[in-house]
């Protein structure tokens, strides 16, 4: 047993993996740190530091256009990610645990949104929504975002579900008669990391989107990236950095909070 322990610990600590992870994270954070630093720029430049100041943060709070756009982006992402995760979970359960005829076709449909270039989705959706008479606005944004978020939520959930031991569920079947209890008490908690991965992925993807949002936003529902891109003509100011830094802060808070909640449950 002692032998097993050291070996198992060995493979958890493969050489160079920790270093790679650290470097990867450093690489991901370099632009972020840069952004945060320049959000405190006293000057107007986004690349030359002229002293430090809070001015851009006050500008953000005073600037209705930017703040409104940022809020729209976040709300949209939360709703779309949540809807997509629920639908994707249901789909994953069906695909992995049950017998589905024409599974290949279902798999292809579920992953279809991944293949389509964003610009094509954007134009196609624009034409579709207007001709159906649904109009453009927050509603059409939610529909479009949810649709393209589904595969992003689906993949991590499926990966997790496939790696799960079905023996656990048959054991649960002995304990709980009703499938719903089996699901919520056994499957769901074990599936949780996959669900969180899926939700996060969907959330990020929605937040990031630019082209589709640009096409489908209507009056009053401009999203943040669309607003920033249109600022390009008149020049990007560190206000953009300030908004981005605020979003980093917000995300950190959300993640810490959910981490604390999870800790309390265990």
């Amino acid at each position: 047993m002692a032998l097993f322990d050291t070996r198992a610990k060995d493979i958890r600590n493969l050489p160079g993996f920790g270093l790679t992870a650290t470097l990867a994270v450093a690489f991901l954070y370099a632009p972020i740190l840069f952004l945060v630093l320049y959000s405190f720029n006293a000057g107007r430049s986004i690349s030359r530091l002229d002293g430090l100041s809070w001015r851009w943060y006050s500008a953000v709070f005073a600037n209705e256009e930017i703040a409104g756009a940022a809020l729209n982006s976040v709300m949209l992402a939360v709703i779309a990610a949540s809807l997509a995760t629920v639908m994707a979970t249901a789909a994953a359960l069906a695909m992995v645990r049950m017998r589905v005829r024409r599974k290949a076709a279902a798999y292809a449909i579920l992953n279809f949104p991944l293949m389509v270039p964003e610009i094509v989705t954007a134009i196609a959706s624009l034409i579709f929504f207007s001709s159906v008479g649904l109009g453009l606005g927050f509603g059409s944004l939610v529909i479009a975002h949810t649709t393209f978020c589904i595969p992003f939520a689906y993949l991590p959930i499926t990966a997790r579900l496939t790696s799960m031991d079905p023996a656990l569920e048959s054991a649960a079947a002995d304990l709980y008669a009703r499938p719903w209890r089996r699901f919520t008490l056994i499957t769901l908690p074990i599936l949780a990391p996959g669900l969180i991965s899926g939700w996060l992925l969907a959330f990020i993807v929605s937040l990031d989107d630019f082209i589709i949002s640009s096409m489908l936003s209507g009056p009053g529902s401009t999203t943040l990236p669309v607003h920033i891109y249109s600022m390009l003509r008149l020049g990007i100011t560190p206000e953009v950095n300030a908004v981005s830094s605020l979003m980093v802060l917000a995300s950190a808070l959300v993640v810490i909070t959910s981490g604390l909640i999870a800790r309390k449950q265990t």
Partner: protein
């Protein structure tokens, strides 16, 4: 109503109605005639597809083989492929590392990996550019230490585009892999050790095959959006080289040729549809 149909209905329905249908319309557009200021005229025309491979000589209307657009496609595939490989090389060890940490650290690392992505891609891409370019901090540091004389061309080229793609898509590789590794049964490794001498061999022979669904998931999520990437070549490449996403975008903007843009997209989707079906068939067989 069979349970599995009920479960699948919402996602399949949403995608079919709100994506497949609009796309079908787009494919329809690819065989229509471009209208003067953008949009289409409802008259059939195969001109868009002809244009992919051939250029029509202005004077005598003959067709000349034209590689312009094939070059764009080839370049996009190469860039995306390279980015996928890099994401795999960096992402797999990272995901493995995170998944094998004790519980508290695990969440910390996950948080670290995802927090940057709350910043919009456009802004992150611009920030990356600002760091890489001649007047940026990297070149500034290199020059002040004395390692280089002049600035290194780190930006406005394919190198920067590649870096941007990796930076954009890394979590799409890490997160699915993490979810798969998280529940990995390490007792399987005992069996592995009986067969293989060291942990590296055990990893490649035993671990990797089990992780294959996660690897495929991650690979797809990087490669496919990568081909159609718009912002990275636009901003980090200095707008000097066209990739497929930019080419398609152009057709709906200045070039005002919607059918051609639709044709480009249709071809791209056809190719990936075929690949997807092949993978789907194997995945369905494995899950059964």
């Amino acid at each position: 109503m069979k349970l599995h149909r009920l479960l699948l209905a919402p996602s399949l329905g949403t995608i079919l109605i709100f994506m497949a249908l609009p796309i079908a319309i787009t494919t329809l557009y690819s065989v229509l005639t471009p209208a003067q200021y953008g949009g289409v005229i409802w008259e059939p025309s195969a001109e868009a597809y002809v244009r992919l491979l051939f250029e029509r000589d202005i004077f005598d209307d003959t067709l000349v083989f034209n590689t312009d657009y094939l070059q764009v496609l080839g370049r996009s595939v190469l860039q995306a492929g390279l980015a996928t490989v890099l994401c795999l090389i960096i992402g797999l060890p990272t995901a493995w590392f995170i998944a094998t940490r004790p519980a508290g650290q695990k969440s910390l690392w996950l948080m670290l990996v995802t927090v940057p992505y709350w910043v919009n891609l456009l802004v992150r891409t611009i920030a990356l550019l600002l760091i890489l370019r001649d007047e940026g901090p990297i070149n500034g540091a290199l020059q002040s230490i004395g390692l280089t004389d002049g600035p290194l061309p780190l930006a406005y080229n394919n190198f920067a585009i590649g870096l941007g793609l990796v930076s954009s898509f890394l979590p799409f590789m890490i997160l699915p892999l993490y979810a798969a590794i998280e529940r990995f049964d390490f007792s399987l490794l005992e069996a592995a050790y009986d067969l293989h001498a060291n942990r590296r061999k055990a990893f490649f022979a035993v671990v990797l095959p089990i992780l294959r669904p996660g690897l495929i998931a991650g690979g797809l999520l990087v490669f496919i959006p990568g081909i159609g990437s718009y912002l990275a070549p636009d901003i980090l490449g200095g707008g000097k080289t066209l990739m497929l996403g930019n080419l398609i975008g152009m057709q709906f903007q200045g070039s005002r040729n919607w059918p051609f843009g639709a044709a480009l997209s249709t071809i791209l989707m056809a190719v990936t549809l075929v690949a997807l079906f092949i993978i789907a068939r194997r995945a369905a067989r494995e899950e059964a």
